[in-house]
Symmetry: C2
Subunit: 226 residues, 2 copies
C-alpha cells in the first residue's frame, strides 16, 4: 500500500485532499484508481487508512476509514556541525531517521567550514526514510545555530572531542540527553571549555579517528533506548 | 605526514621501494623531495616511519627509520548480503572500517538480488578509511559465498530477520561472534530455520524497518568491544 506524508492531517478528519503534486503522483504516476487503499502519516504519530474516493489528477480526495495514533518514540537528540560535504549529512540523516532520531540540530562552531544546510532537501530525505522505516514520527530539524546559543538552551549532555582530557565511556549514557558532534576541525579549546563548564560530559567515542558523520551515527546508536 | 599503504612491508626491512604508481603519486603529485618523512602501514599492524631517500618518479626508495607493531584489534565480523545499490555497501564499509570492523563477508542468499561485488574497489575504500581513521589493520573482505557454506564454517553467531519468532535483545552480545545481515528481501524461512538449527540467535534489532546497510552498521556498533 502506498504511503503519503500528510503533515496537516488531524485525527478528527473524515476526508483528506491530496495537494496538486500528490494528486498527480497518485493518479498519473502510480495510476491509482477509485477504491484504492492509501496510507497517510502526519509525522506526528497519526496514521490513517484511507480509500481513494475521487481520483482527480489535481485534487484527489481520500476518505479516511480508520486512524491510529502511535505513542511518541523516546527523545534522541543529536547536535552536529554540518560536514563540508552535504552528502555525508544527508546519509547520516537517512540512517539516523531509520534508527529513531527525534531531533537533529545543526551547530555553527569556530571550526565549521559549512555555515548553511538545505533544510528543505534534508526534510525530503527524512520523510522518505520515515516512510521506508515505517516510523510515524518525523525527526525535527533545527538550526544552524551558534554553539554558544545551543549551550544556553541545553545546559547538559554529552560531546565528543579529540583533545586530551577526562572522558567517560560510551556505556550507560542517558538517552534523553543531547549528544554534540563537532566539525571536521573538531571543537575549539574555547568550545570544549564552555561545554564542560556548562555541564556537558566529554565521551571517549572510539580508539580510532572518526569522521564527523560516523561519530554522529555512533552517538545515535549509543543513545538508542534499550 | 603522508601515509602509504605497503601490504608487503615486513618488520625487518631497512628500505622500501614504492611501486611505479606510488612513486608517481609521491614525486609527481605530492611533489615530495628527498629527505621528506613518509609513514608506511601494511594493514596488518605494522607502522614504519621512513625518509624519502631517492625521489625517483618510477622507483622511489624509502629508508625505514623506525617501525612499530600495533596489537591486533578485537575481532568484529559482519556477514551481509550485498545491497542492490553498490553505494550502500561502499559507505557501510567506509564507516565500519573507521569503527573497527575486522572482517566483512558477503553472503549469497535466496533473496539476494546482487550476486557480485567489486572487491578491488571495496578494498580501495577500506584502505582509505583505514588511513583516515588512523587504524593499522585493514578489514578482511571475504566472499561472496553461499549462506549455507557460511553456516558450515561459522556454526554460531547472531542474525537479524523480519519474521516473527523468538528474539534476544541487542545488549550483552558477544563481540567475537559473527553477525549476519540479510538482503533487502530478508532471509528466507529456510535460511532462518537453518541458522537457528546451526546455533545462531535471532536478534531484535529495532522497532523500525532498517535498510540492509543500516542494520549492518547497527550490528557493527553493537559488537564494538566496550
Amino acid at each position: 500500500m502506498s504511503t503519503f506524508y500528510a503533515p496537516s492531517l488531524q485525527s478528527e478528519q473524515t476526508h483528506y485532499q491530496l495537494s496538486e503534486e500528490e494528486s498527480k503522483h497518485c493518479v498519473k504516476v502510480l495510476r491509482m484508481q477509485e477504491g484504492a487503499s492509501i496510507e497517510l502519516i502526519n509525522g506526528k504519530g497519526l496514521q490513517a487508512l484511507t480509500i481513494l474516493e475521487d481520483a482527480h489528477p489535481k485534487r484527489s480526495l481520500l476518505r479516511i476509514e480508520s486512524s491510529v495514533f502511535h505513542e511518541k518514540t523516546p527523545p534522541l537528540h543529536i547536535a552536529m556541525a554540518p560536514t563540508k560535504n552535504m552528502d555525508r549529512i544527508e546519509w547520516y540523516l537517512e540512517k539516523a531517521t531509520e534508527l529513531g532520531l527525534s531531533k537533529l540540530t545543526f551547530l555553527l562552531c569556530e571550526h565549521s567550514e559549512r555555515k548553511q544546510v538545505n533544510t528543505e532537501r534534508l526534510e525530503k530525505i527524512a520523510i522518505a526514510a520515515m516512510k521506508q522505516s515505517k516510523r510515524f514520527y518525523l525527526p525535527e530539524l533545527e538550526g544552524p545555530m551558534r554553539f554558544e546559543d545551543f549551550l544556553q538552551s541545553h545546559s547538559k549532555g554529552y560531546f565528543g572531542h579529540c583533545e586530551d582530557g577526562e572522558k567517560i565511556g560510551m556505556n550507560g549514557l542517558k538517552s534523553t540527553m543531547p549528544f554534540l558532534i563537532g566539525p571536521e576541525g573538531d571543537f575549539s579549546p574555547t568550545e570544549i571549555a564552555a561545554a564542560l563548564k556548562s555541564g556537558y560530559q566529554a565521551v571517549e567515542m572510539s580508539a580510532f579517528r572518526l569522521r564527523t558523520e560516523t561519530a554522529a551515527l555512533l552517538a545515535t546508536t549509543t543513545l538508542l533506548p534499550e
